[in-house]
Assembly symmetry: C2
Homo-oligomer: 340 residues x 2
């Protein structure tokens, strides 16, 4: 077994845009045994997610800032290599919050910190995406906030991403028209041709908000009943402007805002004019829906009816650059780092 555990630490807090200088590669000695109730997990995959940007800052967010000098927080999928807990044995595939490092020691006696998963019918990496936090995020915002009904139109931004791709496919499964917003012709083709959305608007082809609005209007001729906001400006404005009366807007991510610049919502009076409900949510605060959501998501992935795409960076050293790319929308689908 390796003697070292390579880690990426949070080295400094960004004042504005995050950069490689805010991270630092470190090595710590790898424990060769574990205490009672503990498990040593070797991470196969690290998940990179927009929420991590919020944790880097001191700024008010829904979570505590991440402590400086410690490995960045992050979801991981891996394999038990040492266990001193009766429920886990070497070779078990597990999902947890191991952070930006190759290994983690987990106090497995704490409920929920480590979850065994079946990697025979569902690829291990999917537990960080379509059958994990991003998938449940899509499910919660769509099902519990947008409350879609057959025949309605659902719009989702960052449509080719881990969350957005699930939102549209879950909406289609409910008889809705699914319209994506994504950056670039290639992503839009994927959203329509491979994920089966009814339409996708390329926001990069519409620098002018008016032009973006008209493209979205063309794609949503019956208006929009549910908008899943997953990216931030400029799509919020355009999306809200197309909303039908009593429409629902689920707000789960505002990547463009994570670097600290404000993203004004240009026409909040539409909230009144169209009697919208706009609701922000954090999926980890709604653990009660996870079992139901994971059943639908897992069944879809196992059956091949819920599709997804991954961008995989190689090696823990690549995590910062991959993460910075994610914040700029350079990934295509779920951004992962492969660690073995």
């Amino acid at each position: 077994m390796s003697q070292v555990n390579k880690q990426i630490l949070l080295a400094a807090r960004p004042d504005g845009e995050a950069s490689a200088a805010h991270f630092k590669l470190a090595e710590s000695p790898l424990p060769q045994n574990v205490s009672d109730g503990q498990v040593l997990v070797r991470h196969h995959y690290l998940s990179l997610d927009p929420y991590m940007r919020g944790r880097m800052s001191e700024a008010k967010s829904y979570a505590q800032p991440h402590p400086l000098g410690t490995p960045m927080i992050g979801g991981t999928a891996g394999e038990v290599v040492l266990s001193n807990h009766a429920s886990f044995k070497p070779g078990d595939k597990v999902v947890g919050m191991g952070g930006w490092q190759q290994y983690s020691v987990v106090d497995a006696a704490q409920p929920g910190v480590l979850r065994k998963v079946d990697a025979t019918r569902i690829p291990l990496s999917a537990y960080l995406g379509a059958v994990g936090m991003p998938g449940v995020t899509a499910w919660y915002g769509l099902v519990k906030i947008c409350e879609p009904k057959a025949g309605q139109t659902i719009v989702v931004s960052a449509a080719s991403g881990a969350v957005g791709s699930a939102v549209g496919q879950l909406a289609k499964a409910r008889g809705c028209r699914a319209v994506g917003i994504a950056g670039g012709a290639e992503k839009c083709r994927y959203v329509v041709d491979e994920l089966g959305f009814d339409a996708c608007v390329d926001y990069k082809a519409h620098a002018d908000p008016k032009s973006l609005y008209l493209a979205l209007k063309e794609a949503t001729q019956q208006g929009v009943d549910g908008h899943f906001e997953n990216a931030g400006n400029p799509t919020v404005g355009g999306g809200v402007a197309r909303m039908n009366a009593f429409g629902r807007v689920a707000v789960c991510g505002m990547i463009s805002g994570y670097d600290g610049q404000p993203i004004p919502l240009a026409h909040p009076q539409l909230i009144l004019q169209s009697r919208l409900r706009v609701e922000g949510f954090i999926v980890s605060e709604h653990m009660e829906v996870w079992p139901e959501a994971l059943r639908e998501l897992g069944a879809g992935v196992a059956a091949g009816t819920l599709r997804y795409r991954e961008t995989v960076a190689q090696g823990i050293e690549a995590a910062p650059e991959a993460f910075l790319g994610l914040l700029k929308g350079k990934n295509f689908g779920k951004q992962l780092v492969k660690l073995v």
Copy 2:
């Protein structure tokens, strides 16, 4: 009986700010008798409300634009002078949507268009304010959207107005801390000293958004659990920034937006960070709550525990100027026009 019915017509649609030029005084012959099922009502009071600005424009709103060349829409309280309907007799006090005119002929057979009211315990004008649409608006947004619990903090903008004053008093009756936002020291004194709010922030004393935010912070040291948005910029931004996690924002009016200029919401990412629910509503779409709301509001006015203030313009000719003043916040309490 008079031979003429003076009216204010919508003469032109504003492109930007509304002005006197968009209205026109007219006279029509007053009917001397009414057909089967009809009632002739002499209006004692006309209600002026911000929503009317929306109806003047062609712009997308929650309602059809008001037709040019016809009397402006508006709530009225008055007295039956002629009746050809079994349920109404001359002298009955009634509330309806008679418009900006001295008299209206009402097809009383249509359900809900004309409502008899008891003006012995409650002043007739109150049926256009605290015991009418503004009162029910306050009740719905507070009770059904903010869902206040004892000990929570509720903030309301335009706090001295017809809606805002009821919001704060209803919140106090539920054991909440009520904090108003109003324009000017006199209005703020009234809100605290006469209406019994715990505090009131004078937004005119804080031209700088940061200064307004700090004043609101001082008044809401435990954060804000429910925000009743009743005015528009600049209070939306400051209010939302003080919201506690899972706070509710009821959006019922954005006066500052009615003249067509956009009011950007500066930090919509707070919707996510604080997991807010922001919901717009139009009280006329929730008729099911009116009986319950009117019971509480009527009892409060009759008992003197629900207080309100009126600004009364004299004569139908004064309606346009009074309305334009309302849009600029020149009124103090419910804006009415007295017609007899």
